[in-house]
């Protein structure tokens, strides 16, 4: 049976890396119907164990600093190869999100729907608060995810 999953990635205690967990916390105040909420940090390889082939999965992760702090991107990872996004999802952990997704694709282990939301962070210092631009991105991503959930639920 297919499941709708929303997974926030990141360390809640490292400044803007908390984007993913913050989106999950926001959604948890009024959970979208039929959606499972989860957070993940550390080893991205473990993501491959998080879904089944017929699931619809939405991932949320902070992007490395760039030109536009807080700018939200939405990637259809089920359709598009993420190789060119590798650098933006760079991780201090050994294996990053984009690599995990591309490994899943190569092994035929991606879910039926896989969407990644990201927003550029500013600071990833331990103990730092979310940058205001990233806080705004949290609200925007949560809103868009609620809409995604409505579409998915209707479709099924």
């Amino acid at each position: 049976m297919s499941t709708l999953k929303i997974i926030g990635i990141g360390n809640p205690d490292r400044g803007d890396d908390a984007l993913g967990p913050a989106v999950i916390a926001t959604l948890a105040t009024d959970p979208p119907a039929a959606a499972e909420l989860a957070t993940v940090s550390g080893d991205m390889l473990a993501l491959l164990e998080q879904w089944q082939s017929d699931d619809a999965v939405f991932l949320v992760d902070a992007l490395a600093p760039g030109q536009a702090p807080g700018q939200v991107v939405r990637l259809d990872a089920g359709r598009d190869v993420l190789a060119q996004e590798l650098a933006n999802f760079a991780s201090s952990h050994a294996f990053n999100l984009a690599e995990a997704i591309e490994l899943g694709r190569a092994l035929g282990r991606l879910p039926a729907t896989l969407v990644v939301y990201g927003a550029e962070g500013v600071s990833f210092e331990p103990g730092a608060a979310l940058n205001p631009a990233v806080s705004a991105a949290v609200a925007e991503i949560a809103r868009r995810l609620r809409e995604d959930c409505r579409v998915c639920t209707k479709r099924h």
Binding site: N11, R14, D17, S41, G42, D43, L45, A46, L48, E49, A62, A64, L86, A87, A90, S91, S92, H93, A94, F95, E99, E102, L103, R105, A106, L107, G108, G121, F124, P126
Partner: protein
């Protein structure tokens, strides 16, 4: 005019790792090698001050997402040393089982995902998966077996929460241990197949004359216990570590370098453990080492991938030995009362010796903490390797030279790999 080149490899990682490489070349001579690493454990030493000693395993587990068990194990042993408690019997054995899980997880991640692509001439494991998916699936199965041990005994796969000073918060049920044994039986074949796979790689002809430092135990391949020994006569109690080793600041790195007071640079990790403890391996791992063509010693850092695969066999086999003779502890932990004292202990993290020192007061509050990770102990050795390795290879083009430099760094451990994984090469010609 002598050509001067500078190879700069800069990478700012997203969160907790920062590494850079800066190599200066003048003509056909390497004039300087600097490996710059940012080391998060320094923050943790400050975080620990003022915290209750029972919090140390959970705080130190956050230092590393790859080897949290090592940090927990060194912490609990050092704090038990301070409190005059020695854990024995089934609780000691279960700690050893937990460490088996971490070695499998960490080594398999490094072998398959980080190190093997270097030898296969591809950029990453995704490319291996595209051409040889069965091999990568084998690596994922094997890693999952390690995860299963850590998840069962540690409470979860990453940053375990079930380790406490004196033992564990909760002991799993017999049924859960039985299911784990079934998983590991299947993993044994995958571990042996991994040895066969990596021992067939081509290795550069490169041998180093290291002082190798590791724990050595009278009966066991070392995880949690043993004297600190070297191939040049060092043989000390763990508590005497600071009499023989010292940390020093070097200008180009926020990571402290560590050196033997008597002789300077040294090398910790799989090559050191294997050379100093080959005779402590179980029969299966010894046979696997012989079939891989390893003698009792291996000084080629590029072959560390083979030694890691042998240690995966040992960890799987040791875990199965433990599970086949499993004794249950009467209680999940032994009560440990604090006293004003200093405790010191080292354990063998997947990438080498990890030493912790704590001074606590009579109320059990931590007054001082010092954590010496394998990364800082190996940093000078990595720089030496790089200088010696690339000197005869300077005629390579920049891309090939960078590739080989990165590979030489990745010989060491997953945490170094973290900070050098997405490198951009800048060459400045003067």
């Amino acid at each position: 005019m002598t050509e001067r080149r500078r190879i700069k490899v800069d990478y700012m990682a997203r969160v907790e790792g920062e590494g850079a490489l800066d190599i200066a070349i003048e003509g056909d001579r390497v004039t300087d090698v600097k490996l710059k690493i940012f080391e998060p454990p320094r923050f943790f030493e400050a975080f620990l001050q003022g915290r209750h000693f029972t919090e140390a395993p959970d705080i130190t587990a956050r230092i590393c997402g790859i080897c949290p068990v090592a940090y927990q194990m060194s912490a609990v042993h050092a704090l038990e040393h301070a409190c005059g408690v020695r854990i024995s019997g089934p609780l000691r054995t279960l700690r050893r089982l937990l460490y088996c899980g971490e070695w499998i997880e960490s080594h398999v991640l490094h072998i398959y995902m980080l190190h093997a692509p270097d030898f296969l001439g591809v950029h990453n494991v995704v490319e291996i998966a595209q051409s040889q998916p069965a091999i990568v699936e084998r690596g994922l199965r094997l890693k999952k077996a390690g995860n299963a041990i850590v998840a069962l005994l540690g409470g979860r796969e990453i940053h375990p929460i079930n380790v406490r000073v004196g033992g564990f918060y909760k002991i799993p049920s017999r049924a859960e241990f039985k299911a784990l044994a079934a998983t590991l039986e299947a993993a044994r074949e995958d571990a042996l197949a991994t040895v066969a796979w990596v021992s067939g790689f081509d290795f550069p002809d490169f041998t180093r004359d290291y002082e190798l430092v590791a724990l050595r135990h009278p009966d066991e391949y070392p995880f949690n216990e043993g004297r600190i020994v070297s191939n040049r006569g060092l043989d000390i109690e763990q508590a005497d570590y600071h009499d023989h080793f010292e940390e020093s600041h070097v200008e180009h790195s926020t990571a402290l370098h560590c050196r033997l007071r008597a002789r300077g640079h040294y090398h910790v990790g799989p090559l050191a453990r294997f050379a100093l403890n080959h005779d402590r391996l179980g029969a299966l791992a010894r046979e696997a080492a012989a079939s891989a063509g390893l003698g009792a010693d291996c000084r080629n850092p590029f072959q560390s991938i083979v030694v890691r695969s042998i240690e995966v066999v040992e960890a799987v086999d040791e875990a199965l030995r433990i599970l086949s003779n499993l004794e249950f502890p009467d209680t999940p932990y032994v009560a440990v009362e604090p006293r004003a004292a200093t405790g010191l202990a080292a354990t063998e993290a997947p990438r080498g010796l990890l030493h912790h020192t704590y001074r606590i007061n009579a109320d059990g509050l931590i007054e001082h903490a010092q954590i010496i990770p394998p990364t800082s102990q190996n940093q000078a050795s990595i720089e030496d390797d790089l200088g010696a390795f690339i000197a005869p290879r300077l005629d390579l083009d920049e891309a090939a030279l960078q590739w080989q430099c990165e590979q030489a760094v990745r010989n060491y451990d997953p945490c170094i790999s973290c900070s050098t994984h997405f490198l951009k090469l800048n060459v400045t010609r003067q």
